[in-house]
Symmetry: C2
Subunit: 664 residues, 2 copies
């Protein structure tokens, strides 16, 4: 049962697609305070848990911290971070007496103080007095989530090849770099399905252009790669370079498709291409126009994209540069620079990136009127990706494209996946990834994954091995690294056969992962479930935050510490441990309870629930070559409902896609 | 057996005090490469472990990362940090065939690539071709460490009151603030022994001055506090403010006691007081002079100090300011600021703090000649603290003072303790503290502790409770927080009785902790021991990095994750679990093996080894009021050797200080 409450005059975000009548009663559960912005307070007792918030740091149970929904280009994904790239205001509050969900549909900053300032209170607040609040009641936590997911619409479904292992780096700057990556993997027989093109494939970072010196005719090169079953996945950034003669820029100017300043002049900000304008993705015409540009690349054989820098990220605005010049002119008059002067200049130049002042200076021309960006900030990346999805739909209505974004808001899950942005080559970021997955699923984001091996900092062999052991279970499985960091393609490390064995296992699991993904998408379910959701009456399970149920059949418990012999695993029921060792699988039935499981860094252990079975295929060098007709059922269960389709078409609901596999 | 090898013409650091003849043979174990700087390579097999490196991030086993010994004012204590405040080049390499120690006595940067770049190699390198290398062989890891510790001299011993719980904040800016802290604790009957004075107690940050407006006559105030059994512990910073009429500045100038630039002019750099000079602590005369200044404060009744900013930290040098002015004058000539210009200015101003360029521009006048700071960098904080220790010894030869430092090098352990610098209010920093303790002990640093509750970021009630549950076992037990963070004195949070119960337990443990500290100091032993050292044949113990043996009798296993029900604990032998719940202790005998132990956030659980007993006293509001004559022995053992003394005097070797307590 979902109920809709209105405060002020909310911006219509299109997050919720189900038509829900407005309630006239006041908001239940919370104490509502409208004296200064909006504030909703709820007492929490010691045992109460709060789940959700999608892309956010910290635990699966969000208690004990302050989270701020504000799409942020901040790679510092630490315990001290309040905002990440996405803004996902859906939470489920689980108390002894009552469990219910709440969605705060508000596109500007919302703050969730979850038993941080007061150890026994949940306080949600916003300066924005205009929002819809949805209260979702249900018989179980899964019911509540399903109800919410139905209201926000079905999750994006990628092509099947996007379940393969993929390699990225900022940047493979030319054809030979890409060819070397493919050769590196193919020579060692390590599966690979795609190579990403980061910003340097463009001609001076101009969207929808290709640096022909480095990549020649991209169509020819894409075909060459396709012949090896490798897809190229280029990046698209939000900012459009200001350059006379550049058609995207000129069309945008001509048609007033760019975001403006207060006076209606296109807003100028520096990002990778230098000074740019931002397409006004909240303007439906501009959205349509920009989305259609993707066809330039699909016509060259491109079948997947990642949208980046769409919080939007701003290095500094033209206004900041102008003010900076004034500031230095002032100080340059003097013969000496005072300490105050040094500090002033340092602070000014150092505080321009993604600053509130700039976000408050951008304006959108929306069907609901002119809006200051700060009031709709969290919708920008969402609508850029919606724009891309619409363009791709138009380019080929019958085909699934790969599409994922950095910034997001609930609603965007219908159009694409996300990756969790610029993480680090840190052991703690393995666990960070594990913990974020259920929250993302709750909010509709199913096609998700982190940069395996870590984006920033240097990666070590053991870190990558351990991270891949989690990554083989995430729909998006991409190894990605920043420029100036150590090369972290699997073949760069000693004993590459260890990497092959782990990635082979991923491919063997694809029939299962793809089936579970499709079931979750079609039924409004989660693919990654906390033990707390699955075993709500088991106190230990409720507090276990380093294991997950994946799909309906298996539990994962990856190792996320360095130099570990193994790890503790809690089995909330009898399970079969599946151990991959040197490419071979062995099975051990284990009893409910606590176990210490030895897991060398080149082995993977996961667990099949007592009465379940999962299908395995043989590994192959790419998804296309998987033999999905020769499947083996493993586990003690007797059957498994498999989902298959051709991996491209949109006939998800064809009943023939589901078949029950039974043990011989 | 310790052997000394010489490369080039090393700077005499006085780290090693034992006279050891030089070996004429070549360095054993390592492959030595002198073609570019110095490089020592050792193959590592999969099972080999490397321990040590004192203050450093990551695990107890240091495998899998690159560490750089370079005293750094960098609060970012994350997995991605290569250098912390201390430089402690002692490691023990534990292989199947052979275990040995190595100390690289080199006061400039030394890099330890421990199976990071190559998964099967340890590579230690330095640009500095001048160093002593000591190889320490022994029958066990403890033998090796004892041998090394004897060579570097006995560790610093603080007064007994410094084992009390202490409160700090940047800053308690006046008498009433301090009084409120004391009242806050005393009113709730939570023990407290000292309050720290951060930089604002000084008159405009000038060392050895007191802001009389805020603190009146410090002697009077120190007496007032002393009457309540509270010590005041002021900070001393490395930089001396440039100010005409300020005696410390004028004396330093007059006698050439300050570090210089290349041309012999005092080096100028901005830190808290504005522009300062750095005393040349490598010049024995300057060291003597500065150390004697501490008497100004001891004469006011001060009995403890913390030396800070002594890497030395540099906000920016005068040279940087001069260059900055040139840079902005250049760009200010233009009508527009180019993007390149914006970046140039931003990068220049943003890269001045603690920059190599400045460290390469500072010179020391040492008995071994004029040295560029970069070649002796790691000795600066060490010698500042040595200076203080000499001054305090002169001020009162018979009395122990509290003294600890931020920057350090091996050798400084004889003069003071350290705190682990500016950490954060992060859960991961509880574990970071636990893991750093054994390495510090190996290098001689026994009086150690982290800022409990975390220095940067806001602390929550549950974080502080959990952190204190580790902190009650560390010799230095200080709650400290940065300005602009949330108040984190225990009485600021709900249900302060939970804090009282935990801190009371600390006081009950002081007879044990003080005894174990003194035994470790006198015998060259460790107070915090990895399970790997204590149970070298137990493979699980070897890899357990979130538990420690404290002293000889107990094991700790604190909770370091939020919203946890408890944690897994590995018992390498039968032990008695001691549970503190609401101030009461209960005891449970537990068997060797794996256990899941429930530990609510207001309870503490620790473990006594099967055949051991430890003494407990009753709690008191301060160390002075502990009744050390009424001790209870807990645990299954029959006796315990107690160390006691008057807590101030230096008669450590008086045989009467040791007595065997036997169970009735």
């Amino acid at each position: 049962m979902i109920k809709k409450f209105k405060f002020g005059t909310p911006f219509e975000t299109d997050a919720v697609v189900k038509s829900i009548p407005l309630e006239s009663s006041s908001l239940p559960y919370f104490e509502t305070d409208t004296t200064e912005g909006l504030k909703f307070t709820l007492p929490l007792s010691k045992e109460d848990a709060v789940y959700g918030l999608g892309e956010s740091v910290r635990g699966i149970n969000k208690r004990g911290y302050i989270y701020r929904s504000f799409c942020s280009d901040d790679p510092n994904q630490t315990e001290g971070t309040h905002s990440l790239y996405g803004a996902h205001n859906f939470i489920v509050i689980s108390t002894k007496d009552k469990t219910f969900g709440v969605f705060f549909d508000c596109p500007s900053t919302v703050t969730f103080d979850i038993a941080f300032t007061y150890y026994d209170k949940l306080v949600i607040s916003s300066d924005n007095t205009n929002m819809y609040v949805y209260i979702i009641d249900g018989d179980s936590i899964y019911d509540i989530i399903r109800e919410f997911r139905i209201a926000i619409g079905m999750s994006y479904i990628p092509p099947m090849w996007a379940f393969g292992y993929t390699q990225s780096r900022w940047s493979y700057a030319d054809r030979d770099s890409v060819r070397n990556v493919v050769k590196g993997y193919r020579d060692l027989d390590i599966p690979l399905d795609a190579v990403y093109l980061d910003i340097d494939y463009m001609e001076r970072y101009k969207d929808f252009t290709v640096d022909e010196k480095a990549f020649g005719d991209l169509k020819v090169f894409a075909d060459e790669m396709k012949a090896e079953n490798i897809r190229l996945v280029p990046i698209i950034d939000a900012g459009v370079k200001i350059e006379e003669g550049y058609d995207v820029y000129e069309e945008g100017i001509k048609n007033n498709y760019f975001c403006t300043d207060k006076d209606g002049k296109p807003f100028e900000a520096c990002v990778w291409p230098g000074m740019t304008h931002f397409p006004d993705f909240l303007n439906p015409e501009a959205r349509l126009w920009f989305g259609e540009k993707y066809k330039i690349l699909t016509d060259m054989g491109i079948e997947g994209f990642w949208n980046d820098m769409n919080e939007p990220a701003i290095f500094y605005s033209q206004k900041s540069v102008d003010n900076a010049l004034k500031l230095i002119k002032e100080y340059a008059k003097e013969d000496t620079l005072t300490l105050q002067g040094f500090e002033d200049i340092k602070n000014y130049f150092g505080s321009r990136q993604n600053c509130d002042e700039d976000y408050s200076s951008i304006y959108h021309n929306t069907p609901q009127g002119k809006y200051c960006h700060k009031d709709v900030h969290n919708l920008f990346g969402y609508n850029m990706t919606r724009s891309a999805a619409a363009g791709l739909l138009k380019a080929d209505p019958d085909k699934r494209f790969l599409l994922f974004s950095r910034a997001s808001y609930i609603g965007m899950h219908r159009y694409s996946g996300i990756w969790t942005g610029d993480n680090f080559s840190w052991w703690s970021h393995i666990l960070t990834e594990l913990k974020v997955l259920p929250g993302l699923n709750m909010c509709g984001f199913l096609y998700v994954g982190a940069d395996l091996g870590g984006f920033g900092y240097d990666c070590s062999r053991d870190l990558l091995l351990r991270w891949l052991s989690l990554g083989i279970f995430t729909p998006l499985m991409r190894n990605h690294a920043a420029c100036a960091t150590r090369n972290q393609e699997c073949y760069q490390f000693e004993k590459p056969e260890d990497f092959k064995h782990i990635i082979d296992l991923r491919y063997r699991l694809i029939p299962y992962l793809y089936s579970e993904y499709m079931k979750a998408a079609k039924n409004g379910e989660m693919m990654f479930k906390p033990l707390a959701f699955e075993y709500p009456d088991d106190l230990v399970a409720k507090c276990t935050e380093d294991q997950l149920i994946v799909g309906n059949e298996i539990m994962i418990a990856p190792v996320y510490t360095q130099n570990a012999l193994g790890r503790y695993v809690y089995l909330p029921e009898d399970m079969t441990a599946v151990r991959m060792q040197g490419g071979e699988l062995t099975f051990t039935d284990m009893k409910k309870g606590h176990h210490f499981v030895e897991i060398p860094e080149n082995e993977v252990v996961f667990f099949i629930r007592s009465d379940k079975a999962i299908p395995l295929c043989n590994p192959a060098k790419c998804v296309e070559e998987l033999d999905l007709n020769t499947l083996e059922l493993i586990g003690n269960g007797k059957e498994y409902v498999l989902y298959t389709d051709d991996g491209f078409a949109k006939d998800y609901d064809n009943p023939e896609n589901l078949k029950t596999l039974k043990k011989q």
